[in-house]
């Protein structure tokens, strides 16, 4: 869009001569708030704490412009130039290779656009990011906010108190909870405290399935609170809610929105790989706000910061069912890849698998690469024809996981795609080729965390078959033993 400045106000313009694309207007004036103006409540609901494109807003331009002229709507640059260097204001992209140009029908010029966040709508040199500057919508909460009836374990309630404290004081806190500790319940008291203080709170997680799973649980715990559930294509896009559950990608649409932001699985893809998501998380928070990080496996840097006292953290070292975490066993299996090329597999691996099939014990078997897994599948099917394999691009992924749950599959081969999130009650776990670089400390801890999840079957066997131990394997084992020791010391285990 092209704008011109008249009387200290930005005006959209279609005449080329006296106007410029918004990115070429260095300082964007913001008119003062006109208290007497009757603003549109729906626009307020939609725009509070957001940064949207014109195409995302189902109101005509002249209405948006009129709110701007009365100080209620803000226009910000979509692309920010530092000298000649462009940056995307929404996703923070500065990499030349993620920008491209097109002849733009809106501004009539060759317009630069960001390719990195284009799935959320295109931001180009003539795109204004539209936000809200007026009053925040009123929210009236019932007297009793939380209806959650459950109880917390001792470890959980210690962590829960820390979360409440951090939210009240706008601090950062890392909650380092082992797989199966019950992270979600630890948040309830903190969410209640935030809502009671009329704070806007958001839980962001990397994956849509987690959003879908969390939404009903939170709606049940906070039945009278409006909950917005956001993921690609969700219906709550226009909803203003004091409690938001979103995929990390959806944070790109928020700007200075949340007084408390809870980031789930901070160590997981894509949050760690895509800098744009880290940028989004920072932008979505209010400058004064609380940030809670949740993970079972913080990376090395964060672990170091925890140990040296630079990062506020709390641990839940034991599972909800008060049994220790199963510790992985290392077994050397020789050059298994070479054997696989000859359509054979190490004898001890075959024996491990045969024992599970004979004993009718379900198992997950992790492989570092799809191709190796697919070579192994026909060899392993000699034990049971119903053995299946699953990977990220498998169209039948969901069905196979479902079948595993229904115990129709005795053994499921998988890549790291099932390393986290999925829970089967009573399984053993093996990793074939644990020395591969894809199996980092955190991946191995997560994989080990698949076993012994239910209180009826708290013990599961975890075996890492390897062709040479790696540091990552040793660190993973050490982390698990360390957590068990701490759990014992703090009286969180029965044994």
């Amino acid at each position: 869009m092209r704008f011109t400045i008249k009387n200290g106000i930005l005006l959209p313009s279609n005449t080329i001569e006296d106007s410029r694309p918004i990115s070429q207007i260095p300082a964007l004036p913001q008119p003062p708030l006109n208290q007497d103006y009757h603003f549109n409540g729906n626009l307020q609901q939609l725009l509070t704490g957001k940064q949207l494109l014109l195409n995302d807003i189902p109101f005509p331009l002249n209405e948006i412009q009129s709110h701007y002229e009365n100080g209620y709507v803000t226009y910000r640059h979509g692309i920010i130039y530092k000298g000649k260097q462009p940056a995307c204001a929404r996703c923070g992209n500065k990499d030349q290779q993620w920008f491209a140009y097109y002849p733009c029908a809106r501004c009539g010029e060759t317009c630069l656009y960001c390719r990195q966040c284009i799935m959320m709508g295109r931001i180009s040199g003539c795109t204004p990011l539209i936000g809200w500057n007026g009053p925040v919508p009123d929210t009236i909460h019932p007297e009793k906010i939380s209806q959650w009836q459950g109880t917390l374990s001792k470890g959980q309630s210690e962590a829960s108190n820390r979360v409440v404290g951090a939210i009240q004081e706008n601090k950062e806190l890392l909650v380092w909870a082992v797989c199966g500790a019950g992270k979600t319940e630890v948040l309830f008291a903190g969410i209640e405290a935030a809502l009671a203080a009329k704070k806007r709170i958001c839980i962001a997680t990397p994956r849509t399935d987690v959003v879908l799973e969390l939404t009903p649980r939170l709606k049940a715990a906070f039945p009278e609170i409006t909950v917005a559930s956001l993921y690609g294509g969700s219906e709550d896009r226009h909803l203003y809610a004091p409690l938001t559950i979103a995929t990390t990608h959806q944070l790109l649409r928020f700007y200075h929105a949340f007084d408390a932001l809870i980031l789930d699985e901070v160590d997981a893809f894509p949050y760690t790989v895509e800098e744009s998501l880290q940028h989004a998380a920072i932008q979505a928070r209010n400058p004064a706000s609380a940030m809670i990080y949740l993970t079972a496996t913080p990376n090395e840097k964060w672990q170091r910061e925890c140990r040296s006292g630079k990062r506020a953290f709390t641990t839940i070292p034991a599972r909800f069912h008060r049994h220790p975490l199963p510790v992985p066993e290392f077994i050397w299996c020789g050059n298994w890849q070479k054997r696989l090329q000859k359509n054979r597999m190490p004898v001890n691996v075959l024996r491990w698998i045969n024992e599970r099939i004979q004993a009718n014990k379900q198992a997950l078997v992790f492989f570092p690469h799809i191709s190796l897994m697919e070579t192994a599948l026909p060899i392993l099917r000699q034990f049971a024809q119903t053995i299946e394999a699953v990977h990220a691009e498998d169209p039948d992924r969901k069905e196979k996981v479902q079948k595993m749950r229904a115990k129709e599959i005795p053994l499921l081969l998988t890549t790291t795609i099932l390393e986290r999130g999925v829970t089967f009650p009573n399984i053993d776990v093996a990793v074939i080729g644990a020395e591969d670089t894809i199996f980092t400390e955190s991946a191995l801890v997560q994989i080990a965390g698949r076993a012994g999840r239910s209180k009826d079957h708290p013990k599961g066997k975890i075996t890492f078959f390897h062709y040479g131990k790696t540091d990552e394997m040793l660190k993973a084992k050490r982390q698990i033993i360390e957590m068990n020791r701490e759990g014992l010391k703090r009286g969180l285990l029965d044994c």
Partner: protein, 238 residues
Amino acid sequence: MHLFPQDRCLICHEIIHPAIGWGALFSQEKEHFICPKCDGRFEKIDGEACRICNRPFHSLDGKFRDGNLCHDCYRWEEEPEWQGFLDKNNSLFLYNDFLKEVIAKFKFRGDYVLAKVFAPFFKDELARIAPDFLVPIPLSRERLVERGFNQAAALLIASGYPTTELLTRIHSEKQSKKSRSERIHLPQVFKVEPNISLEGKKVVLVDDIYTTGSTLRHAAKLLKEAGAASIQSLTIAR
């Protein structure tokens, strides 16, 4: 700063490793826009196909075939008011799930630079057809402003061919929401630019996808009635 920027795939953004060999050493290196993996996911249209719309017969049930025409084209050609306007459609690839994603990103998300992916194929086709006029199927003014560019024109610009805006759109409704019969019995959606002589000219219409062929046939009818000698069309997907 990248001192030695590496080519990255326009679709998946992975680094493209150049093939090293005598050919690469002695001939001028072609610019690489996509990686071999993405390239392999496009399905070229080849083998026996419908004489008019280029629909491949190998994946088509025999009962939808009438001689060298598919049943759809046969029905169009049966009606005297539609007979013989579109001489031939040329399409590059089958509209598989992968291509669907790429075209959606190009057209609906507005990732203009993806036109480059198809440009080498468009160049080859256009060199073979050698038309007098290349006409992108126009968007309504309102849709053009919404998207920021016309995807058909973008394909031609990326291929280095000039476009001739012979058509303008008079209707603005979305095609993709309509059924086949609604599309066919629509009143004319285009009008022709009156100041260019089409007498005896070979015209190629350009669009992103050939679905029912109704848009292209409406345009072809107008242009033939305005004097054009032959009308072909060129699309990415069929």
